[in-house]
Symmetry: C2
Subunit: 372 residues, 2 copies
């Protein structure tokens, strides 16, 4: 008898992006997923692991990360075995990362269902999360590429949205719909109509699919990329051939987000199912959302991050991140963002938090890579 879907489930955690919009907290050598951004006392990566382990089992979580982060990742996840860590020699975007995991796991275990979850998002409501994943796994078992969309609680302009189409009747999958379209970050008025309409969900970048189905979609849209990944996966589990194969294949793989290579094309062909998730989710994309997260969404309050922060605030709101051992004094600054690290200081406002990435680019061009 075939195993129940959740028994064939494997979690994949791509731990890649630096999180430039959270500079100077996030750095090339200390990316966002290695930070505690919620005051939980552990990193976002560890939070992600702890959320997934009860679903797939801790022996069935694969982490795809950069070679430079190997030691830090292994320190966070001592349970992670060598066979479950995939090291990238250089970043090639999410299709290569998740596609390689899919190809490796499908070779090892045909019929495996994989679920990919970012290493640096914040989720609360574990039970609701598990329910959504369980539904998504059922949809995956039925042949869909599944994603989990988050029910909006406000007209957010910092997220992409998924427009739900007709409801899908899939055994074991509650709250499943077809997807009419993916939409990029909207303006505020559009986001308000989405919130009122009730048909749009936040795109949380979670993809759950049978590995063979995911590879099949990819073969259709990006045959060269697919071929490269399958070829690399064939050499992966032999220590003698993996290294040369990586050197030969990886640098030439197309850089493309899995949203464009798999999810959107599958949606157009009616092969994407979205599960409506009711848990709280945030991608903590910038300091404005970090501030909101740490003041429980209340404006006019000041969030303070930093274990030994010495902050004196007089009529101040926003967020202060203290990573240098200094007294920080704020007077009469509203919605301020102050990030204090030993070699770099950022002062901006919630309103301008999205522009941090552009400034990081300017610093790189300006020869200040030492602080990036």
């Amino acid at each position: 008898m075939r195993q129940a879907p959740l028994e064939r489930f494997y979690s994949v955690i791509p731990a890649g992006g630096v999180g430039s919009r959270l500079w100077p907290l996030s750095r090339a050598d200390a990316p966002k997923f290695l930070h505690d951004l919620t005051g939980s006392g552990q990193t976002l990566l560890r939070d992600t692991w702890d959320r997934l382990a009860p679903l797939s089992g801790e022996q069935r979580i694969m982490v795809v990360t950069g070679r430079a982060h190997r030691a830090a990742v292994e320190a966070q996840l001592p349970e992670l075995t060598d066979e479950n860590i995939v090291l990238e020699s250089e970043p090639r975007d999410s299709t290569a990362a998740i596609g390689l995991a899919a190809a490796i796991l499908e070779r090892r275990e045909p019929g495996v269902i994989i679920g990919s979850f970012a290493a640096d998002h914040v989720i609360s409501g574990t039970t609701l999360f598990r329910e959504a994943v369980t539904s998504a796994v059922a949809a995956a078992d039925a042949g869909y590429i599944a994603t989990i969309g988050i029910t909006p609680t406000e007209p957010a302009v910092g997220f992409g949205y998924i427009e739900c189409g007709e409801e899908l009747e899939i055994p074991g999958a509650r709250h499943a719909s077809a997807v009419s379209s993916f939409v990029e970050k909207p303006d505020l008025d559009t986001a308000r109509t989405y919130l009122e309409g009730g048909r749009h969900l936040w795109n949380a970048g979670m993809f759950i699919a049978r590995a063979d189905r995911l590879l099949e979609e990819l073969a259709r849209t990006k045959p060269e990329l697919h071929a490269g990944l399958v070829e690399l996966a064939a050499e992966w589990d032999d220590p003698a051939t993996r290294g040369p194969a990586v050197d030969r294949i990886w640098p030439g793989l197309e850089k493309i987000a899995i949203d464009y290579s798999v999810a959107e094309p599958a949606a157009e062909r009616g092969r994407l199912a979205v599960i409506r998730g009711h848990f709280q989710w945030d991608d903590v994309g910038d300091f404005a959302s970090l501030a909101k997260l740490n003041t429980a969404g209340r404006s006019g309050e000041l969030a303070i991050l930093g274990e030994n922060a010495r902050v004196l605030a007089d009529a101040a709101s926003g967020i202060v991140v203290s990573r240098a051992d200094r007294v920080i004094t704020l007077i009469g600054v509203r919605d301020i963002v102050v990030v204090d690290t030993p070699d770099a200081l950022l002062v901006t406002t919630s309103e301008h938090a999205q522009r941090v990435k552009a400034v990081v680019d300017a610093l790189r061009l300006g020869g200040s890579s030492d602080v990036l």
Copy 2:
């Protein structure tokens, strides 16, 4: 034949105040007068010395400062002789500081005219300054307590004002008037009427008088304080008696600003003359004025202080003071004040710059004196 008035002139520089409103730039061990706040390449104290030396001669400048600052002051002013430095064991406000200088100098040189000028103000227009001092010295020679008032160029609310009375005809003293009243920092509407009326000058805290006249005024208003200063001065120039006299007398002297002990009472008795100064002057009382000073008063610009400042600004105005070796990034912050030092960081706005002093007090009460 009696010497010409300017030949009897002695400059006195009280170098006392920390400048709390400029914390964390100004500190107990690095007060405002030891900073270069104009980008001139030298400290305000040295600027003050250089401004006065052509008037009184560098052998005739007395500096009154705290014992803790002796080494720093002497490093700034290598020309300063031992007999011209008066060290306070503890601060006792400006009447004690200037009164002691007056009493010492009057003993050494009866008939001396002294002029007291703060160590931490910024002045440009040296020729106009010298003209004003020369007039003030002439008024002092004629028996007046003289002060120099600055012709306002804007409705400043951060300064006290001197209201001019009738013009005074004093040989050698141009633009001299009696003083109708001293007024504290006004509100903006009042400051506007002062500016339009043309009869109010900024109180720059400059006092010029014959030492015997100044002491005579003080004897009338504060006889105990006067007696203590005269007694201390009598012991001053004997190394054997100075120390014990300081220990005995100094701690008991009343703390009072010379404005209240001498200037205002003299004004009421028609014995104060104000000379209208046309030079540019600023007491650099807070970061808002420091910002203005370093952007030539243009709003919407960003002043950057710090020799090796690495500042990246995107849509930012105000002032950033860089005293720690860090990259400072400002995005979308207007009229901001960022002061970055190795152990303390201040973020506020020009509008709230006056509140820095209150925060310094709060830090002291809160046990953070290590950064004050």
